[in-house]
Amino acid sequence: MLKQISIYLSENPTLRYWIVRPEWVAVILLIISIISSIQLSPFFADLAFIMDSATPYVEYGLIAIILTLIIISGEIDLSIASMIALTAVIFGTAYNAGIGMPMSIVIALLSGTLCGLFNGILVTKLQIPSIILTIGTLTLYRGIAQSLASDFSLGGYPSWFIGIDYRYVGIVPIPVIIFTVFAIVVGFFLSSTIYGKQLYLIGTNPQTAKYSGIKVDRVKLLLFTLSGLVCGIAGVLTTSRLAVARFNMATGAELEIVLMVMLGGTYIFGGRGNIFGTFIAFWIVVILRAGLNVARIKIESQLTILGAMLIIAIILTNYIYSKSQK
């Protein structure tokens, strides 16, 4: 039976293209999480509650979407969490120096962009593997944040700035709207434009991409820079949500963000994956965390369950890729 299906699929590449996709793993995991969360607690089945639970993860979700692009093109950026903290601290420092809110935001975004550009230049010009380089800048950026802010919490923002997660359109918090729109825009870019297609080609075979006239280095430089910019946005959003900026914000978040991308079925060695998968994975993380909280399962055990989920997703993703690759 299974064999017949696989033969049938290999004779119909278009059908196989739609069926043999790892993001279906994410969708199934999402459905399982929803069902089991509702089983654990009847209070869970409340859309407004789920939406509210999503807001703390939106900053990670935004970055996960850009990280998906980076991983598809065969690189990785692990300095993301440090860039959140650094841009937030720079934002807080700038505002407290009295240069006004709009200018402080611009400076935060600009500094994020520069951090990303720095990553990108070292990766493309000096040909340093991004996994090593961004572990280095992970420490560097966090270190700069700490020397700027010491152990102080930089606060004192105007009330209109604080608490973006408490502003709604209907029952949907504004951060969730930002995330969804961003996912749709980037998803469309990745699936339907020539630039999106080239990311897959670069990730599949950078040599062939170079010989096909694709500006591999320039594309990667742009991606890393974009990653820095989005981390800047996340830094400002986090500061608005928490009302303070600290050097140790988002510690360890890089792993949680990588988890979202992996859970969504993006292939760690590049060339495969998509935004839909990452979008679904974001909701898996949100629902699991919220569901387990409602069920009063301790934080420590939550981590175990998330880890187990990730392992399952990775095994299934790899299995599916080995099938579609043959």
């Binding site: 293209y17 599949t204 075979n205 062939t208 010989y211 096909s212 060339g271």
Partner: protein, 494 residues
């Protein structure tokens, strides 16, 4: 030690690369192996040294049948292989490199430094080398590293020494030094197999020569009973006249599209000058490593060049990247299909349209998937590419069909200058002749073509002119009338 082989053959996944090799080697003899790339000599010495196991036949050492199934077993039987590029542990000392794998004592006993240093010294002195055994390998010249590899073979009491193109990385001075050592070993009764493409060296050092061609051992001769001309003839076979030579009639115009002047890149190629007409097929012949691919890559902008000038359509240009080259009307079908030609786990249609992003998208970059499918299907029909649909992954196609896809990809970019690097490698005979038709037709339509190929019949039947390269230099430019397999080989080797 006497070494004999009886009826040795080797088959790789159904392809017979070596047949019925009866070979003999005597102690105190230097026995040269020659043949074109792919003639089977490397496969043969890899069998002798235990890298490959033969599919059939047997090996005898001193008339005793031996089973050499691994390099370690070969060494235990006294057969050692000296690699073309020395295989050393560059951070360890000379003595450690010499005694690697066969130090005294068990795996857990301490290293007797004094002992191996003294023994290394003895061996090095016995071949006339003055190197401190405590020195770290890194920083020694290639020649010295090679000598140390020989010393390693001596420390294992090897009786048969196989040297695979040992002279190609050496300077003339170092070659002399190596030959002194070879002569010394020979007078001590060592049996030596010596592979080289340089006939002069073979003449200088060896006693006998064995010629391989297309997996067959053609003949073994005493070196002073055979001329260089005869050796070359044996290497390329007798069917020289059978290869048809291209008619040069339609290329009467004098429209030069490309003029390459004194192109040089250090350690790769030197002083390369040639010109190319519209509609001309210019063959590049030579042995592997002659620098042909490097020249092609520099023209295409994938590599830099140090000196020289490229004049294209009357203007001096530099392609700084493949992207610029493609926009200027160049195309390059690379030699290594898997590494540089295809996007393996990507659909055929995305492969075929990967070099023409502007033609398949609108001004803001949206892909028109109908155009993609149509363009791909046109070429699938035109070139008779066998697949289930354009959405099939390219890695699932056969080598020949993959190659047709790559050619389609570059034809879609409408190149003025098309560089083909070994376009028919790993392609079956049927597809090959289809490919020849395509190439000829393109030239008739006015595309200027640079054809790099190691297959002489292919280069002879397709090219209008043939450039022969050796060790990074152009040794001869032949018109198709005067080109034969024989004189191409002569300029490629000497």
């Amino acid at each position: 030690m006497d070494l004999n082989t009886n009826n040795i053959g080797k088959t790789f996944s159904g392809v017979n690369v070596l047949r019925n090799v009866d070979f003999d080697l005597k102690p105190g003899e230097v026995h040269a192996l020659v043949g074109e790339n792919g003639a089977g000599k490397s496969t043969f010495v890899k069998i002798l040294s235990g890298v490959y196991t033969p599919t059939e036949g047997s090996i005898f050492l001193d008339d005793k049948k031996v089973n050499i199934t691994s390099p370690i077993l070969a060494q235990k039987n006294g057969v050692s292989l000296i690699h073309q590029e020395p295989q050393s542990f560059s951070h360890l000392s000379v003595a450690e490199n010499i005694f690697m794998g066969h130090m005294e004592g068990s795996n857990f006993s301490r290293v007797k430094w004094q002992d191996i240093n003294n023994k290394s010294n003895e061996i090095l002195e016995s071949i006339g080398l003055k190197i401190d055994p405590k020195k770290v390998m890194e920083g020694l010249s290639i020649a010295d590293q090679q000598m140390i590899e020989i010393a390693g073979a001596l420390s294992k009491n090897s009786k048969v020494l196989i040297m695979d193109e040992p002279t190609s990385p050496l300077t003339p001075n170092e070659v002399g030094k190596l030959f002194d050592i070879v002569n010394k070993l020979k007078s001590n009764g060592m049996a030596i197999i010596f592979i080289s493409h340089r006939l002069e060296e073979i003449r200088q050092i060896s006693d006998r020569v064995t010629i391989f061609r297309d997996g067959d051992l053609i003949t073994t001769k005493n070196i002073n009973e055979v001329s260089n001309e005869e050796i070359i003839k044996f290497m390329i076979g007798r069917n020289i006249e059978e290869t048809e030579v291209k008619e040069n009639q339609f290329i009467k115009n004098d429209e030069y599209i490309l003029n390459v002047k004194n192109l040089s890149l250090s350690k790769k190629f030197n002083d390369i000058s040639f010109n190319l007409k519209k509609g001309e097929i210019l063959g590049f012949a030579g042995l592997v490593g002659a620098g042909r691919t490097e020249v092609a890559k520099s023209i295409f902008g994938a590599e830099k060049f140090d000196e020289g000038e490229i004049i294209y359509n009357g203007e001096s240009i530099i392609n700084n990247s493949p992207n610029e080259a493609i926009n200027n009307g160049f195309a390059y079908v690379p030699e290594d299909r898997k590494q540089m030609g295809i996007f393996g786990s990507v659909a055929v249609e995305d492969n075929v349209t990967s070099a023409i992003p502007k033609n398949i998208s609108n001004s803001i970059g949206l892909i028109n998937s109908k155009t993609v499918s149509k363009m791909t299907n046109d070429y699938i029909n035109k070139f008779n590419i066998i697949l289930t649909s354009g959405r099939q992954l390219i890695e699932e196609l056969s080598g020949g069909n993959q190659q047709k896809c790559i050619i389609s990809k570059w034809l879609l970019s409408k190149p003025k200058v098309l560089i083909l690097d070994e376009p028919t490698r790993g392609v079956d005979v049927g597809v090959k002749s289809e490919m020849y038709e395509i190439i000829n037709k393109l030239a008739e339509e006015g595309t200027a073509i640079i054809l790099i190929s190691s297959e002489l019949p292919e280069i002879l039947s397709l090219s209008h002119r043939i450039i022969v390269m050796r060790e990074g230099k152009i040794t001869k430019i032949l018109n198709n009338k005067e080109a034969t397999q024989e004189n191409i080989m002569r300029y490629a080797i000497n």
